[in-house]
């Protein structure tokens, strides 16, 4: 048997060896992550706000100028225990969110993996979904009083629903062939949940987290108007009574920062723990 081997042609000149001539297709996906992408959008909004306030397009009666908000922030920090208010709000949000996340995930796994669980759990949750949690607050006040319990229960319930819905949806979307594989390997329910169900439902869970964080903040705003002695909501309510628009805006900005940071944290976690996927996200 004979064969002719064509050796690759040696580069004609030394210059040629440094050439990097490629045919590159136009990128259709979003491409690489921007370095300061995190700041760009919020800074743009801040810039528009500042320009509007400077030129008088946004009158102080409509929206306090950014620098006045910064001053009010300083006043609140030194004279009215702003840090205490922030921490108190954070504590409520984190506690409520924690209960909501655990509850929503457990219920989603129960109803996702067992038909009996589904029959018992899914209906009530869908019914609960169609009743706005905020409309339940008067009832919760009657049950839990007007203190901390009512606030945490409200935040927990309001964040439980998106966690449940998205985790359940992610779980049921797991390829059935993986369950079949797990059956042939002969593992138990516990290992199946740990190695197949939870990681498979993780993308759904993380999406639920993003909604849950927003819902928790929404709940926070409302519950802190009820007999709170501390918290951002309390600060806003007081400012409303005294007509301090700048302080109200301070509260709103803090809510905004909470939400943006929390969402960014969830997404960054998602990129890290979902490294096994190849998506347009990366």
């Amino acid at each position: 048997m004979t064969a002719t081997v064509h050796a690759p042609a040696a580069p004609a000149t030394t210059d040629d060896s440094r050439v990097d001539a490629r045919v590159v297709r136009r990128r259709l996906g979003p491409g690489r992550r921007l370095r300061f992408g995190f700041w760009a959008g919020p800074l743009l909004v801040l810039a528009i706000w500042s320009i509007g306030s400077t030129t008088g397009l946004i009158s102080p009666a409509i929206l306090t100028a950014p620098w006045d908000v910064v001053r009010a922030f300083g006043d609140q920090w030194t004279d009215h225990d702003l840090l205490g208010n922030v921490l108190s709000s954070l504590q409520r949000a984190v506690l409520g969110l924690a209960f909501g996340i655990v509850g929503g995930t457990v219920l989603a796994v129960l109803s996702g993996l067992s038909r009996i669980g589904e029959a018992l759990v899914d209906g009530p949750i869908q019914i609960k979904r169609s009743i706005p949690t905020l409309a339940l607050i008067p009832l919760f006040i009657a049950w839990f009083g007007i203190g901390q319990e009512m606030k945490i229960v409200t935040i927990a319930l309001i964040s439980l629903v998106p966690i449940y819905v998205h985790t359940h949806n992610g779980l049921r979307g797991i390829d059935g062939r993986y369950a079949e594989l797990a059956e042939t390997i002969g593992i138990g329910r516990g290992e199946f949940v740990r190695h197949v169900i939870l990681p498979g439902a993780l993308p759904g869970f993380l999406l639920g987290m993003r909604f849950a964080v927003t819902s928790a903040l929404l709940g926070l705003v409302v519950v802190e108007q009820y007999n709170a002695t501390s918290g951002i909501g309390h600060m806003i309510t007081l400012a409303e009574q005294y007509g301090q628009t700048d302080v109200i805006v301070v509260g709103l900005v803090i809510y905004g920062i909470f939400g943006y940071l929390a969402d960014t944290a969830v997404r960054a976690t998602g990129r890290k723990v979902l490294a096994w996927r190849r998506t347009l996200e990366d």
Binding site: Y178, E180, L181, E183, I185, G186, H195, P199, L274, A275
Partner: protein
């Protein structure tokens, strides 16, 4: 090419008697099938589409709980399945996929060894999507063999691979089976693959065994005259006419 008629000296690894399975009321997919597979025996199962190959394999794998039917199926305690898709869990690294469900202190070492056996040493930390199709299928083979199964069920495991990779996989599978000696039932569409790999080729038709031939090791080479004869015979049994044979 004598029909399989070996006296059973040891208890068979697989014993199937009068197996019936049907997906509708009109007709069965398996209609009273009998089959024995000896320990360590490599059986290839061929047949046209819809003749019940996969149904039989799924019955042996215990994956047909929702299918109507009756009959007797006896398989060893330790059965492992290789699917046509590698079925690696995308969220587990390759080594964790191989070790999936294994316990004990030696699990990691066994997993590494199995990966090395299929030529994937060094890829332990890779995600499944980073492997080529052939590598994924090798990883899934490692996942099966690390369990030291007494019965290996393979449902067209090389069906989605290119011709070159297939040839390499054939050699690898023969080598692994020679080392680990599981009984093997390989479902395939490819008559050549069946002859090259198996000790015995079984042809399924209308839900029963229609042909059952032994393949002597000497005739496993494609250049062997008996190979061509056997191939022609099996293609004939499958109803492939002379003209369309390549």
């Amino acid at each position: 090419m004598a029909p399989h008629a070996r006296g059973l000296t040891t208890a068979p690894a697989v014993r199937v008697r009068n197996l019936h399975r049907s997906f509708s009321k009109d007709g069965g997919v398996l209609n009273g099938l009998d089959l024995d597979i000896a320990p360590g025996e490599f059986v290839a199962l061929i047949g046209r589409s819809g003749t019940g190959k996969s149904t039989l394999l799924r019955a042996l794998a215990g994956l047909d709980r929702d299918v109507a039917g009756h009959g007797r199926v006896e398989v060893p305690d330790s059965v492992s399945v290789v699917f046509q898709d590698s079925r690696l869990l995308p969220w587990k690294r390759v080594l964790d996929n191989v070790m999936f469900g294994l316990h004990g202190p030696g699990a990691v070492e066994r997993g590494r060894q199995a990966l090395a056996e299929v030529g994937l040493a060094g890829r332990e930390r890779a995600w499944p999507y980073q492997l080529s199709g052939g590598e994924q299928q090798r990883a899934s083979l490692a996942r099966s063999l690390v369990r030291e199964p007494q019965l290996l069920l393979a449902d067209e495991p090389f069906g989605a691979l290119d011709a070159l990779t297939r040839i390499r996989m054939h050699a690898l599978l023969r080598k692994l089976c020679a080392t680990h000696r599981p009984a093997v039932l390989l479902v395939t569409h490819d008559v050549d693959e069946a002859i090259v790999l198996a000790d015995r080729v079984i042809l399924l038709d209308a839900g029963v065994v229609r042909t059952d031939v032994r393949v002597d090791v000497a005739h496993r080479s494609r250049s062997d005259a008996t190979f061509a004869e056997l191939r022609a015979f099996l293609l004939d049994e499958l109803g492939v006419d002379e003209e369309s044979r390549s």
